[in-house]
């Protein structure tokens, strides 16, 4: 298991040596179980860092903000950002590299291995604790989590409270990193698409009813897209302003900006939004599960993205986030791509 001390020391080292402009990790929140993203600028701050099964965030998301910030600055600090990444997060970084959104030299990657566990699903945990409030969770012996509650410590088998995505993890060890902490015991889920069976087993009409009910709930807070490292478009097709206004943009153009969907949070428009997002993430989503975690309405968004991940793998043998050199899913083809659906 990645040792917290090693983690702190590495962050201190790279800050002291001025290798990075700052480092992003996890720190304890004053209240609540989940940590906060920590932006470490000074070596002494590195002692705030924690590494626990509650470190759910995919911190690669913050590279997007940094890139935007740098674009605004006159002569930005070109040094890399120190980024603490889990296996899934590292795959996101690979996709960002593949899409040339960042250069390898923009990041100093501190990989932490999840080994045989992963991160917790707060919802599962709450159910498990039946009202008891968890104060702290640590990696325990042999695939157990040690949960500290108001009534003392309890050991819970990781598998019972692990995030669904961790149970279906394809890379428990970062696939790319500058330093790797923790053992490199690779674990691969025997069926990385198990959870999908629930939806796939439904009839078409049941599936429709299911998605209708779920997407009806959507209030279009766009947390799913905001938290997604792949949703780095400056303007999203879902935004009312979906073209960049320039000096030579005419009034007519402004008046005629494309409204692929309305702002109204009604089923038809919500479907457009979520289907566009799903198709845009096909071959890019690496299942960090953040969109589903942050959804305030508990819409099971993983089922959408995961499904296309599965289809891309089965139809085209495509797996995102392992090779920055491979061409993007829809930017390549094979002669033998399936076409039985074509007349």
């Amino acid at each position: 298991m990645a040792k917290l001390e090693e983690l702190k020391n590495e962050v201190k080292r790279i800050l002291k040596e001025g290798k990075v402009k700052y480092a992003i990790g996890y720190e304890r929140d004053t209240n609540g179980l989940l940590p906060k993203p920590a932006f470490i600028k000074k070596t002494e701050e590195a002692d705030k860092l924690i590494w626990e099964p509650t470190c759910v965030y995919n911190l690669s998301r913050f590279l997007v903000d940094e890139k935007r910030k740098m674009a605004k600055e006159k002569n930005p600090d070109q040094r890399p950002i120190g980024l603490i990444i889990k296996g899934c997060d590292s795959r996101a970084v690979v996709v960002l590299l593949q899409e040339k959104f960042i250069k390898r030299s923009d990041v100093y990657l501190i990989g932490v291995s999840c080994e045989n566990s992963g991160v917790v699903d707060e919802r599962k945990l709450q159910k498990k604790l039946k009202g008891k409030k968890a104060e702290k969770i640590e990696f325990g012996e042999k695939e157990n989590f040690v949960v500290t509650t108001s009534e003392g410590k309890i050991e819970i088998p990781a598998s019972e409270i692990l995030a669904e995505r961790c149970l279906e993890c394809k890379a428990s060890v970062p696939v790319i990193s500058d330093v790797l902490l923790g053992e490199k015991t690779k674990r691969k889920a025997d069926n990385p698409f198990k959870s999908l069976e629930r939806v796939e087993s439904m009839s078409a009409e049941e599936r429709w009813a299911f998605w209708k009910a779920e997407l009806d709930k959507c209030i279009r807070c766009y947390a799913c897209r905001s938290v997604c490292p792949m949703c780095y478009c400056d303007e999203c097709v879902a935004d009312t302003i979906n073209f960049a206004v320039t000096a030579d943009t005419t009034a007519e153009e402004k008046a005629q900006k494309i409204k692929w969907l309305e702002k109204s949070p009604v089923a038809s428009e919500n479907f457009v939004y979520h289907m566009v997002r799903a198709i845009h993430l096909a071959g890019r989503c690496i299942d960090c599960g953040e969109c589903e975690r942050v959804c305030p309405l508990d819409i099971p968004l993983r089922f959408l993205n995961k499904y296309l991940e599965k289809e891309a793998q089965e139809l085209f043998g495509y797996e995102p986030g392992f090779d920055p050199e491979q061409p993007s899913l829809v930017a390549c083809f094979k002669d033998e791509d399936p076409q039985d659906f074509i007349r």
């Binding site: 929140d29 004053t30 209240n31 609540g32 989940l34 940590p35 906060k36 993203p37 932006f39 965030y57 998301r61 913050f62 903000d65 919802r123 709450q126 159910k127 409030k133 709930k217 209030i219 279009r220 807070c221 766009y222 947390a223 897209r225 905001s226 938290v227 303007e235 935004d239 009312t240 302003i241 960049a244 206004v245 320039t246 943009t249 402004k254 309305e262 702002k263 109204s264 949070p265 009604v266 953040e290 975690r293 942050v294 305030p296 309405l297 508990d298």
Partner: protein, 345 residues
């Protein structure tokens, strides 16, 4: 008027209110949300905090303001006002009720928003005292609220395990009781005492608070250009959760939803909008006065604890804690306010 209602009689009472549209918290998966009640039996007021506050019933996220239709003799416009059907919302938490009074101030005043007020006037709010506090991030006590506050409610119900202790606070409340009078008993002195006891216990359970919040508005005034906003917004992902879930946020956008361009046919629609979205303040010139997360976080704090206070002498926050609980990156308004208070000390 005070009454006692056996819990088991709740469905019968609701059935007696058949002339009303009844909304109540409904469990969806692990979450609670206000939904139209179809089956009174299913109503269960054991809810903790609903994801979206009941503001969405009076101020819906999507509302058609008018229809337009072009024909031979020009464009015909038809205003569409909501019909005034008596509505009652059960299980309203005091903080959410208070939020509605605050929103009244915005949609009232010199110009009354007819769409809002039609719903508002025809809606009765039946509150449920928070015993225990419905969220670990409740901090109503810090912002002039309490788990059993009555502001904005037409009736307050308090859960006495097998019974509810009801206090009708307005005519609307009385009408609700009249509708099912034979179901109620007169409360004994003990009942009221018990309720008060439970209230007190519950208030103690509220852990989170903003220390001397009174000083915040004045303090904020000098902090418009503060570096604090950059620091505090570092992890903000520019989503709309904090504001869409806030019971007091009321910003909206108006769009024409064109059905057909020739002949021109469509609706003018009002939808919630959100000051945390990058395009909220985007000018058609391309200029954006609030170009980054810092300025948007500042706007949120200033609006709630500075501008609104100056304009209406209230905080535009009722301490429900939704924005704290649901923030994807745990930006905590209580912490931010603490930092504001301590800033520069």
């Amino acid at each position: 008027m005070e009454k006692i209602l056996e819990k088991k009689s709740l469905p019968q009472w609701l059935r007696k209110l058949s002339s009303y549209e009844i909304y109540a918290p409904t469990k969806e998966g692990d979450l609670w949300n206000f939904r139209l009640v179809v089956n009174p039996e299913s109503v269960d007021l054991s809810h903790f905090q609903t994801v979206v506050s009941p503001k969405k019933i009076i101020f819906p996220q999507r509302e058609v303001l008018l229809e337009f239709n072009s024909n031979e003799d020009g464009v015909e416009v038809r205003e569409i006002l909501p019909e005034e059907k008596p509505t009652v919302i059960f299980g309203v938490r005091p903080c959410d009720a208070k939020a509605i009074i605050l929103t009244d101030k915005v949609f009232g005043g010199d110009f009354e928003d007819p769409y809002y007020w039609r719903r508002r006037k025809s809606t009765a709010l039946v509150g449920l005292a928070c015993t225990p506090p419905p969220s670990e991030n409740c901090f109503c006590l810090s912002v002039d609220g309490s788990p059993h506050a009555k502001d904005g409610l037409d009736m307050l119900m308090t859960d006495l395990r097998d019974r509810y202790f009801l206090e009708s606070l307005t005519e609307k409340g009385n009408d609700l009781i009249k509708a099912g009078k034979e179901l109620f008993q007169e409360p004994k002195a003990a009942d009221k005492k018990e309720a008060e006891k439970i209230w007190a216990e519950s208030a103690k359970k509220i852990k989170r608070q903003v220390k001397d919040v009174k000083r915040i508005p004045a303090k904020l005034k000098g902090m418009f250009e503060s570096a604090l906003w950059d620091e505090e917004s570092l992890s903000c992902i520019r989503c709309g959760i904090c504001t869409y879930l806030c019971p007091t946020c009321h910003c909206f956008d108006i769009n024409d939803e064109i059905v057909s361009s020739s002949p021109l046919k469509g609706e003018r629609v009002r939808t919630w909008d959100n000051c945390q979205f990058p395009d909220f303040t985007m000018h058609s010139s391309g200029h954006n006065p609030r170009p980054d997360r810092a300025t948007r976080l500042r706007q949120r704090i200033f609006h709630k604890f500075q501008y609104f206070v100056e304009r209406f002498q209230n905080y535009q926050c009722t301490g429900c804690g939704r924005c704290v609980s649901k923030c994807p990156v745990r930006i905590d308004i209580i912490e931010v306010l603490d930092k504001v208070r301590e800033y520069g000390k």
